[in-house]
Structures are given as C-alpha cells and as structure tokens.
C-alpha cells in the first residue's frame, strides 16, 4: 500500500522558515519589533506541526511517510529557532554603554553637518528657530 503524504511535516517546516524570513517585515512595527513575538508564534506553530507529523511517521510508519525527512526538517527548524534566539537575546543586546554620552542637565555638543539636500545644518540654527530639538542617532547603512 502506498503510504500517505504527511502534510504537517511540510507545512510545519514552511511555517518555521516563514517565521524567520518575516522578521524583516515585522521589524517595521515597534509592536512586533521590541519583542519579536510574531516570529516566535510562527516558530511555535511550525514546530508543533512538525512534532505532530513526526509522531504520525514514527507511530504509524506503515501509513505515513516522513521518518527520515521529518527528522531532518525538525533538526533544521530547531537550529533556525536557536540561531534566531541567539540574535535576538544576545547579538542585538551588544550595545556600547556610552557612559560619556551627554546626560540630563548637560549641554549637548554642537554640530554642523550636511542634510540630505547637501545643505549644512547646525545645532545652533535648529535651536534658534525652535523651543527644542530631538536628536536621533541611527545605525544607518540604508
């Protein structure tokens, strides 16, 4: 008898891969970037499906396929989640302490830099025409 297609293994693996590649999309919104719960939710669903598929493959091997590729897929899925977690919980938190950054009550260092139109913009000019300035530093490389 031809054994049945074990769909949860395939769907589960696709969901885990989608959980990884959707990070770029979810990182656009603070609510899914500050903590990437949407990605972890996809990982959870994907691994649950993979486990269901593996139980079927090993429990009823005469009915369902997937003992070998199911094992390979779940290994890859676990590695993907481990690497993602390493990035999120370790790499992203390696930020310099910036102990010398201006503190509340200190005067901020002046600057004169070119804007996106090539025009020089100084902190003094910005301050003279406003009640205050929000200075935001970016990692850049856009």
């Amino acid at each position: 008898m031809k054994r049945k297609w074990n769909w949860p293994i395939w769907v589960g693996f696709v969901v885990v891969v989608a959980g990884l590649f959707s990070y770029e999309f979810f990182a656009r919104f603070p609510i899914t970037r500050d903590f990437p719960w949407a990605n972890f939710l996809l990982f959870g669903i994907g691994i649950a499906l993979l486990l269901v598929g593996l139980f079927r493959a090993f429990g009823r091997p005469q009915v369902y396929r997937g003992k070998i590729f199911g094992s390979i897929f779940i290994t890859i899925a676990v590695l993907v989640v481990a690497l993602f977690s390493y990035e999120i919980f370790y790499v992203l938190r390696q930020v310099p302490a910036s102990v010398g950054a201006p503190r509340v009550g200190q005067k901020a260092p002046d600057f004169l830099l070119l804007d996106q139109n090539g025009k020089p913009v100084g902190l003094g000019d910005l301050l003279s025409k406003s009640k205050g300035v929000v200075v935001i530093f970016y990692r850049g490389f856009w």
Binding site: G100, A101, L113, Q116, V121, S130, V133, V135, R139
Partner: protein
C-alpha cells in the same frame, strides 16, 4: 524613524525640531528620505566625528566592520541642554515618539 515622521506635526506644533544623524552620506540620506517620505533633516556624519563626541559610537558594528552610531535619542531644550535621553540596551528597541512627547509634557505641561 518612520514613527517620528508620522507624528512630526505634533512636534512641530510644540515648536520642537526633529533631526536624525547617521554615518550615511547625503546622497544615501536623500534617496532614503525620498523613498520613505521623511521631511525632517537627516544629517550625515561620515567620519563619525559628532557620533564620537556624543559617545554613541558602535565600533565595527556596520557592514564590513564600519563604525556606526548606536541607536540613541536626546531631547534638548532651547538652550541646547539635555532634558531627556534614551540609550537603549537593545538595538531593536528604539524610543517611540510618544515617549518623547510624554517627556515633553512632563517638562512643560500644555498651556505653558
């Protein structure tokens, strides 16, 4: 940054300017701000001189080991004195505009 652009008018009505600083050259900043519709100044500090002066350098953290700025936000009053600062411990977690607006409300309640 997208979120600051979305709420830029709220800063404007309070007389507060918003500026961004990164190591990217003006051409890249122009392309980027056109693409995403940014209307506030996006300043270019290619040698990271100002970034160093603010001690917000993240050495070798950019592509190919380039020195870049770490994420940081400073709210300055009209004398250039820091009134609020956010130095995140996680690159992915940035100050949201509502946090800065809230800090502004604390410093000068509406109507003053």
């Amino acid at each position: 940054m997208r979120s600051f652009q979305q709420r830029l008018s709220e800063f404007g009505t309070r007389g507060i300017r918003v500026v961004g600083i990164s190591v990217d050259p003006p051409e890249i900043n122009q392309r980027h701000s056109q693409k995403l519709g940014y209307t506030f100044p996006l300043l270019s500090d290619p040698s990271a001189k100002i970034i160093r002066r603010y001690d917000v350098l993240h050495p070798a953290a950019g592509p190919k080991g380039a020195d870049i700025a770490r994420p940081a936000e400073f709210l300055l009053d009209s004398n250039g004195v820091v009134r609020w600062v956010n130095l995140t411990e996680n690159i992915a977690v940035r100050a949201r505009p509502e946090q800065v607006l809230e800090a502004l409300n604390q410093l000068s309640p509406a109507g003053q």
